[in-house]
Symmetry: D3
Subunit: 286 residues, 6 copies
């Protein structure tokens, strides 16, 4: 079946509901991320983005106790070790390129035109915050624990947490406390500061169910409306209100010519369930 093409060496792929792609990290024992793993994630996200069969992505972990322990330190050390014979500036060029690539992999979740719901549980350390902050909706199991752990390994988080975390939460003091102390915080704390939509009682299974349920709701909406909503919210976050409004008017002057608005209004007025066509004709599955 076609969803198999999105399965990777370090994640599984499934379509539990029509239009919902469920990706699940799977690199035992702790989902430690090395270059191949985030490279594979990016490749998958960028491929599914324009596959009109899918309308929403759910990101999760297959391991019972870990969303991810963060970076694979052994792998990271080899990156930092540098190349013999290069001066500090030439090392810097290599590091800059590596960082830009790594940042790009995490940013692919935000850039993806489909919404991404992340289901968090267990240990969500370091890179987990970078990943989750780049998703659209964050749900966590009650057993989840979090840490912006980079400061503990002698570096400033540099692939997205420091940029996105303070902008998605509502307490800058806590954001700085977490980033400067590297201390763990609970799902409940995370909810209180606005990092999560919901804390779901239980663990891996329960939060995944909640995420899939929300995904199903979104998959049934107009894809024109859903993709535009994410696109415009991404734009709005980085612009003044007036800039955002101007861009929205430019964007929607074509989107309002979709048949979806007529379909939806007709359904609303006739109290029926609307059925929206995909953004492009979907090829028959094999």
């Amino acid at each position: 079946m076609s969803v198999h093409k999105y399965t990777g060496k370090y994640h599984t792929a499934a379509e539990p509901t029509p239009g919902v792609l469920h990706l699940s990290f799977n690199r035992p024992p702790v989902n430690a991320f090395h270059d191949d793993m985030w490279g594979e994630l990016r490749k998958t996200i960028e491929a599914v983005e324009f596959d009109a069969q899918y309308r929403v992505i759910v990101l999760a972990s297959s391991l019972e106790k870990y969303f991810t322990a963060g970076l694979d330190l052994a792998d990271a050390q080899s990156t930092l070790a540098g190349r013999k014979g290069l001066d500090a500036a030439r090392q810097a060029f290599k590091l800059n390129k590596h960082l830009v690539d790594f940042q790009g992999a995490i940013s692919s979740l935000q850039a993806c035109r489909l919404p991404v719901i992340v289901a968090l549980h267990g240990a969500c350390l370091g890179l987990a915050i970078d990943l989750a902050s780049a998703c659209d909706v964050r749900l966590a199991a009650a057993n989840a624990s979090f840490a912006i752990a980079e400061v503990n390994v002698g570096l400033a988080a540099d692939i997205g947490t420091l940029q996105r975390f303070p902008k998605v939460v509502g307490n800058d003091s806590k954001a700085r406390e977490y980033a400067l102390t590297g201390r763990k915080f609970s799902a409940e704390e995370a909810k209180q500061i606005g990092f999560l939509s919901e804390v779901v009682p239980g663990g891996r299974k329960e939060v995944l169910d909640a995420a899939l349920g929300m995904a199903k709701t979104i998959a049934e909406k107009s894809p024109v409306a859903v993709v535009s909503t994410k696109h415009l919210m991404n734009h709005a976050r980085d612009h003044s209100i007036q800039e955002g409004l101007q861009y929205t008017a430019a964007w929607n002057m074509s989107m309002l010519q979709a048949e979806d608005t007529a379909i939806a209004m007709k359904a609303v007025l006739s109290r029926q369930t609307p059925n929206f066509p995909p953004l492009e004709p979907v090829k028959a599955k094999l």
Copy 2:
């Protein structure tokens, strides 16, 4: 009395306390908005803004069960139906102009130099979020329920919600969840994510009383201080901190020459209640 000139076909106007203009939407049965209704609102706001008799605006609804059900769908459909014989680009020009006008009506609440307090109750759907997000202070009755309902009618919210809602609340995950699912949320939820200043027990009457009380407090402050505070907070939201500080220094180098500072300081030191003159001499009421 002069307040009557601010009464419109779709809203009432009153001055329950000196300096407080109370506008109340009134288009039964559900305050559905069509072009004339938001056009009238804009005209009123832009007229009162420079009427030195008023110092603060309270926005509310006269209907018991509805703040507003949102757009008047029949009216909207005729806008979207387009004009026969125009190609998609020429339709787009028409839609762009309509959107810019509609956005401008909502933005007039934010741009108005007087603070606007909105008293929300009952059903607050779709356009209600656009309107409320453009106000300065949001109070809601316990019976209020909310929805960013646009996604349900096949379009992305395009007159302000996607720009303002995430910036006035403290939970980006919830903001995106609401916008992508179109689901209802309660006043309590709205308070938790930072959308509201307060949830007032009761319904229409109770939240209006609270709003008028707050408005009275503000109306007794220095109008130089109040107008400047709103103006500078609007500016600050869309600028870096340093930009905001520089603009503030330029703005206040004249404002600090107001007599208000002397009046206020004198009152503070002498423990009397200060009495601040309006921004311009107010003409005698007829």
Copy 3:
């Protein structure tokens, strides 16, 4: 001892833990700020910033009941009184220069490369909000009460509150309500809207202990990681996500060449406590 050089006429200085500079405002009876007092603060902050002996600053008040009552109104009045014989434009030039200097003093807390934790208790009025909003982490005692009091003295807050407060909290409605009404709010309210990391039961002593404990944790981290984290979070707040990521990649291409990452990783792998050298060799204390 060297810490004494940071003692001023209006604040004490101590090093309760290695690497932690504790500054405590001390101008009885209410820590009212005049030009000399904020000038002295700025001078101290800018001097300690590049003293590699220190890694974090704790800001507090020595008075039992007041963090600060705000501006020294008598002093402020003489600033506003203007100079005889100058027209309004020339007065404006003088006021602009004064504001820029005053803003710069408050901003020095944010610009300082070392993190600043503020321990708030008792009355925290007016300038207290400007100061606290410019710090990185805010802790308050349960007995603390707050007010954005400027509107009560006939002016718009112009040295940082209107710029920073709405960006560090998660409820724009409350931010505007506080700024427009000047009303007091409790530590609990402040926590709920995201202004504080924590409300510490008790008063001056208790919140100071909590702040010093957090400071000790941070002082033991890699100074490369800590200074970079604050620097990048400051940058991120005022830039789009992509801008922040690009700057981070430029910044960290040298920072990742620190020995700290190797020290930290080695310690993590060997389960020992890492010991990070200062940013520059520290001269022996006298």
Copy 4:
């Protein structure tokens, strides 16, 4: 004929070529601008902008020796005189409103979706630079002379010159020299620094002919292409290249669905002259 509705008290209106609106300032003896005159200009520009009969505007002066001598000083003095009994802050509010309105009148030339070609001749002083800088294309007769004259009357140009002039020319040193010294400069100098497209030998008649000729060329192009080109160049000037490209992609995703591209390409391939329909059906002239 319908063009008459665009005639005003201080300017004439004509349609010398189909689709070209020619507006000519006419307030002898020197086209000194007072509030009514720029208010009338704005009203006219905002009305013609959405009149699909017109595709380009030519702005000129009917007086032989003056494009404009600038502000009507007597009128300006009454604005600056202030209102008795208002303190400096309250005067400032009045002045701010006046400036915003005046700026808006000049900016209407830039904001107008139709291109504006200005034909300059004779004395082009003060306001002339503000006006011309807000137009799209600037042609001048050889007899034209220019001055950023505001510094000579004790104020900084505040309705557009300081913002636009340096951005439309290619010599910041000259821009500052002109603004700081108020000295006159010739059409030739203006051409050399990039202020003008062309210096046309002769005077009023000659430069007007050149402007009308260029207007005719533009009026025959696709209005979708012309309006979009101005719109996107306005946007580009105030944004980074990447921002401009993103906005362009949003804008053109509907514009490329115009029939104009097919009409034009067909004409190009068949070597015929394309004939483009207006943006909306034009009503029959009376």
Copy 5:
């Protein structure tokens, strides 16, 4: 030889001088660009960018009379024809993606860390301006002629000209005139408005020689200095001066640790020719 790997179906590749990659468009009869051609260019540029053997790129055309006639109109028409059965919004999604890809291909010249010198001759129409504006240095033969031709085919230039052309020249009036009229302009005119570094007497061969000579000079400089200079000038164009300075300080705090500065200073002091190592060790050629 290794340079052959950069040869494509539509361009040749050569290394006339060590470190200089010479790419020459070659799609007779007029170098009309279709999707494959710009796709290939992007692929080549992104591959050579991190090949430390090369230090500068020269872009030219192999055809005697054409740099390029612009878009391949037949190919473009098929893009614009749309896909049957899709509504205007869904067509818009397809067009948006196509535009973003096309823009990305042109932008790869600007984004490439190596400087790109373009040698222009003969007909340089439409896309030629997009391409040349994205290069660093522009040289043209005296026989070159230019046109921003998009308006002639019913669309606004949307792959870079409207963003970059006005920012690289010094005459906004001319930029708008060219874009609105689509008229041809000569190399001499192009030089006068600041589009070109130089007009070289002659044609294809002469301008190519001049470009290769300049490229040789740049290839002998420190690659740390050259790459950083382009990188920082790209950044500066889209930022305020202060932003650019801050980014430069972050960037150069590693770059100043290059051995190149010592090599260069030593050479300057000893009046010898410096010899700078590449950014990474270059593999032996096959």
Copy 6:
């Protein structure tokens, strides 16, 4: 006499005309800049800025053949040599601080509220471009020659040239050519691309006379107008047009209350020479 307090170890100070401060670099044999020299310049500029006796600054060189040969390479090498025992990250912190200080010294010319006219002659290399680009008006003697020489010493210009030079000229191709090749260019070339206001025939004396003449003109204008003009042009360069207009309206709402406008208008109407008071009463000279 009071002007003597602005004399430094590396520059002379004179007041050739009332209100004109003439600073002349004087470190034979070639005005090579080391840290003390630019530190002294900054200190002088920041001191004179608020000395109401002065209204304009002329910057020049006392040496016949050199404006400046640029950096003192021996001094620069010691900065770059680093401190033994510091890793690359800690070296980077030191370099960053040095760069920020050095940038601040050059930027003080731009930030200074008084206009700065630079009179260039002879060799104007490296730092000369940074300095001149930060001034308001640039005049050069015909014997002047220029080079953005940093690339020749293995580094990217990092104290302002790459930020300011492309923004003050009108030919981005030339700007990049000069920065990438490090080649010399003549005063005539510099004029053509828009770097200079004028090329003055002759050498040091002639260009200085021209600069002092222009300075005299400016010194006789209203200081409110002159200081505001520079301030608003600095602001405009780094902002969108609309942002610039908004800031201008805030700034001028106090400036238009100057008596200068009345003085100037009265003088204009009565055809007399206006005499404007300084921004603050000037103390009697000793």
